[in-house]
């Protein structure tokens, strides 16, 4: 079959608006699960990282630290598919929970998985913040948590923005395994189209699918750049030489 014919088949399939809707639904699901997964991941990851860097004087901290280590090891050590299958087909039946939206399971699993990675990223971010920042906060009488939340973590997040962007990109691409637990994501949408009418024609749909992923990734990259720029506001190194010279005259 030549390309023209393949294209013809694709166009005829797309004539049915149900498939257009399906693509947008898949796109929405992909973005939704990746975004909420990342948000949950950042929250969990930050909490876990805070435990990881906390001084280990107290027993409770040591216990939490072990739990966090086990959590990280599990979610980094197993593939996302396995985690999804496990959550959906093992844990849910085991707990006797029925009627849970597979998308919710997807979001939670993505969040837990991402939390493990973000915790490592965040730990690196926290240790990259000058220790003096934390000490100055503590010396002013602020508690450990306040010093972390108000001073250290915001600077850590700024430092790890590019890496967090990569994590988001990974999550977007990983949504393609959601079809294993019956979620219709972007990949599933195009697979459905490719296999529609028992007319198995993959080339065009999967090419377009790939292009959409690339565009998504480019958009995220752009967004991360913009956010970095906004953050950089507090980092303007020295003013323009002109302004400085003026100040010298004034003083």
């Amino acid at each position: 079959m030549n390309l023209a014919v393949k294209w013809q088949i694709f166009v005829s399939k797309m004539a049915s608006e149900e498939y257009i809707i399906l693509i947008f639904k898949g796109l929405k699901t992909t973005v939704k699960i990746a975004v909420f997964g990342l948000i949950i991941g950042i929250i969990i990851g930050t909490l876990v990282a805070t435990v990881k860097v906390a001084p280990k004087y107290k027993l409770i901290v040591r216990i939490l630290d072990k739990i966090c280590a086990a959590y990280t090891a599990f979610f980094r050590g197993t593939p996302m598919v396995v985690q999804l299958l496990f959550a959906y087909y093992v844990i849910l039946p085991l707990l006797g929970i029925k009627g849970v939206d597979a998308e919710i399971v997807g979001i939670i699993t993505f969040g837990l998985n991402s939390g493990a990675y973000v915790s490592e990223i965040m730990r690196g971010g926290i240790t990259s913040v000058d220790k003096g920042q934390f000490e100055a906060a503590r010396a002013l009488g602020l508690g450990y948590g306040t010093a972390m939340i108000k001073i250290v973590i915001p600077q850590a997040i700024k430092n790890i923005m590019p890496t967090l962007g990569n994590e988001f990109i990974t999550l977007i691409k990983e949504t393609s395994v959601l079809s294993f637990i019956t979620v219709t994501d972007l990949f599933k949408a195009f697979k459905t189209i490719a296999e529609a009418n028992r007319n198995y024609e993959y080339l065009i749909p999967y090419t377009i699918l790939g292009l959409i992923y690339i565009v998504l990734v480019l958009i995220i990259t752009l967004l991360v750049r913009i956010i970095e720029k906004i953050f950089a506001k507090s980092d303007r190194k020295a003013e323009s030489p002109k302004k400085k010279a003026k100040e010298k005259v004034n003083s």
Binding site: Q133, A136, R138, L140, I151, S234, R236
Partner: protein, 287 residues
């Protein structure tokens, strides 16, 4: 003893340190230091690099936990892990060699962050307590009195901001209030760091080589501010290598050597007539 020293002996004790030691694994940095700091004293600590000056200063507000010894402040032993160290640190200002202004906060926020946060936290705690007293009063015959809430949230924030602006005006950096620290010169940063500590109304201020990271032309402005604050009666413990400044501002000079106090006295005693051979050696090396 001269007259000034006698007056100071009658002043109340701000900080009383007994037998502080500090070891990092088998590196014994502090080997038993006693020090009584009275109100209004300006104590300058001198000593060769690595003798433990910074470590000692950091032990005073428990940024380093002393290995043994006692630090009595406000009637409590700060070295005791059970005391609320945050409460006491609010009254012990600290100025660092590297300024340590919060990079993610504006100059104004740097100054107001801690006072505002702490006052608001106390306000919340009071409100919660009052809530429970009210519930209790519902059942009580003789009603318990509610805690008095002097200031609202708004008033707390306003007062904290006003105070910060007044301090900024004092150092002539009012127009920098909404700038980020990265736009300031080293001297400006350190002066902001000093008023940030002052904004807490500390009972004593600790300075760890406050001018060592500065370009020479900026040292003066920072030393002048410290001197001004000292002249206002602030109690201070200062680690510095600025000998002229030490002589001028100190009421007592301490020479530290290998983790103990090698010698102490008035500036003229220590500078002009050092008794300890190590002190002499130190002055010969740097002068």
């Amino acid at each position: 003893m001269n007259e000034q020293a006698i007056i100071q002996d009658e002043n109340e004790i701000v900080l009383d340190v007994y037998g502080i030691t500090k070891s990092f694994s088998d590196n014994h940095v502090l080997n038993g230091i006693d020090l009584t700091v009275r109100k209004g004293e300006v104590i300058v600590i001198l000593g060769p690099s690595g003798c433990g000056k910074s470590t000692f200063l950091r032990c005073l507000n428990c940024l380093e936990d002393p290995t043994s010894g006692e630090i009595i402040f406000d009637g409590e032993n700060l070295a005791d892990m059970k005391v609320d160290i945050n409460k006491h640190r609010r009254k012990i200002g600290m100025v660092f060699q590297n300024f340590n202004l919060f990079n993610n906060k504006t100059v104004l926020k740097n100054i107001t962050l801690a006072p505002t946060h702490i006052a608001l936290k106390e306000l919340r705690a009071k409100k919660i307590k009052n809530f429970f007293i009210k519930i209790g009063n519902f059942f009580r015959k003789n009603k318990k009195e509610l805690l008095i809430i002097e200031k609202t949230k708004k008033e707390i924030i306003k007062e904290s901001n006003d105070n910060a602006y007044a301090l900024l005006r004092r150092i002539g950096l009012e127009d920098k209030a909404n700038e980020y620290p990265s736009t300031l010169s080293g001297g400006q940063k350190q002066r902001v760091a000093i008023i940030r500590a002052l904004a807490m109304n500390p009972k004593v201020m600790l300075f760890d080589e406050p001018t060592s990271a500065l370009d020479p032309e900026m040292v003066g402005e920072v030393l002048n501010l410290i001197k001004e604050v000292a002249d206002d009666g602030m109690t201070m413990v200062i680690v510095t290598h600025e000998m002229g400044f030490a002589r001028e501002v100190a009421t007592r000079v301490i020479f530290m050597d290998e983790g103990v106090i090698g010698e102490q006295g008035t500036p003229s005693e220590v500078f002009d007539n050092p008794q300890n051979p190590r002190t002499k050696q130190f002055f010969n090396a740097i002068l």
